[in-house]
Symmetry: C2
Subunit: 349 residues, 2 copies
Amino acid sequence: MSGPIQFTCPLPLAVKDRIVLGHGSGGRLSAELLRDVFLPFFHSPILNRLDDQAVFEFRGARLAFTTDSFVVKPLFFRGGDIGSLAVYGTVNDLAMGGASPLYLSAGFILEEGLEIETLRRVAESMGRAADDIPVEIVTGDTKVVEKGSGDGVFINTTGIGLVPEGVRLSPALVRPGDLVLLSGPIGDHGIAILAEREGIQFSTDLASDSAPLHGLVAAMLAVSLDVRAMRDPTRGGLSSALNEIASRAGVGITIEESAIPVREEVRGACEMLGLDPLYVANEGKLVAFVAPHAAQSVLAAMRRHPQGHDATLIGAVTDTHPELVLLRTPFGTTRIVDMLPGDQLPRIC
Amino acid sequence: MSGPIQFTCPLPLAVKDRIVLGHGSGGRLSAELLRDVFLPFFHSPILNRLDDQAVFEFRGARLAFTTDSFVVKPLFFRGGDIGSLAVYGTVNDLAMGGASPLYLSAGFILEEGLEIETLRRVAESMGRAADDIPVEIVTGDTKVVEKGSGDGVFINTTGIGLVPEGVRLSPALVRPGDLVLLSGPIGDHGIAILAEREGIQFSTDLASDSAPLHGLVAAMLAVSLDVRAMRDPTRGGLSSALNEIASRAGVGITIEESAIPVREEVRGACEMLGLDPLYVANEGKLVAFVAPHAAQSVLAAMRRHPQGHDATLIGAVTDTHPELVLLRTPFGTTRIVDMLPGDQLPRIC
């Protein structure tokens, strides 16, 4: 390449034309890949909405449809494994659209040499997770790649759900004045995975928060249909979820740092490793945008549910700084919380 | 392990407890994995039917749901690429249940270091294939794994289709006397991939037969609803597809070797490489089981369609040798055509 040097960031040249781990982070690079590589060729008005799930009308009903691949490493971790995660992850993407899960598909890509006993444990965990929801795994597929061309087990689950009548959730509905509710402490999943991977010991039993959220969502919608939008802050963490909503709705969001619950072990691990809990993945939490008049009753309903008993009000939607997420610190200062620019922690889900 | 040696085949011990390439072949090992590892934990009556697609009732309609992961190597080959294959493959699985495609999901697992231009070519091909069907890719997901933990691009596509009223296709409906129709020459896809991979030259332009089959299926069902069952003989080839039907329906099948079209280049390559065309993968062919009174009109409809103009009657269903597929050779002898026991050719789709 000739001409003046134009780079303003320390990323190597290759990042511009090759896939890097950050493209799978759920942050800025993921969004760019979607915008530049996929959307121009997939001419779908539904896909262009960029919701966690596609919702389409069928015979007077609204069906939700969502897909997720799971490449988490290690396969088994404290609080879960790739099997239950693959079921909960897709059920949660349906739930974020307000949908009750109906059916799941399961696609496996196995690496030659994988112990069949390992696969059996994964399948058993998937089956148990599906029974608990309950949701039926009705169709599947298995491919095998040569040793070194995969990594043990990758699982794709794709789900179909039913959006109940009257329920309408979309970032497009979020407006200034709405309040932001968080269902519990953040960062547990990411730090639990990292601890497992790096052999970090904690004094207490920190585990992934991997859990299904459809029950919590149903409990919230039972007290008010004025929940405007929900997101489960998985890859990219809470900050990426909030930035997505702010950008989609064209609104500003202000959150209070002191109101965001973070476990001591998670805070300690993040400090030690130089991570920000706002960017660490969760697999059993949701953030909800609720009309102001309904926020207290929805928060109370969340606290009555096992998946939401530590729920808190963390902030509000505003029209003063559109498409920006601001964090107010306990010291009264304010900082911009951006989308995850690269990748904090790959292979998290 | 103690006790007398019980092995009757030359497979190494590890095959018993580790995943081998044959588990992804679509043949006997795939069936065993499904039976022993997945079905015991996925308590689904729909899955237990073992059709290529799950069919469930919704508001008086029947929806089909199917998933497939694509790991083909190389990504681009004469006659297609992983992108169009991922669209056609899932559309074809829907079509084998008689369903018209409605929506697709697309899940990508990318390997770090992949050229973004390569991914763009794949996405463009997927988009074009979807537009041609037409079917809408409404939801997606992208994960990235470290270099050496994947292989360029893996794609999962999952599809939802609508089964038209009056259409009912299932191996369970196949009965003695039904005739067996094949839509065209077999083995093109497998040999084209192998040629690409191994650098084999052909004197003519052998290309993969990768193509969507929903139009052909619609044309067949338009002339008769007495088509009982269909299969697209992909992994494991025609022999595995026929064996699956024989076993599911509890019937025998006799086919005429001389009636099965095989291109000269495919026959030549198979002889050179010691492969049997009956086991080589196809990606744009179908085999149909049709009530005897309807077979001629269905065959004529197939021949009028571009995807079926070389269609032939290849055999019949019988009650004389249940669950066995017999091949009558041009010399008047007969041999049993079994399911693919191991793996002839991995990473074919």
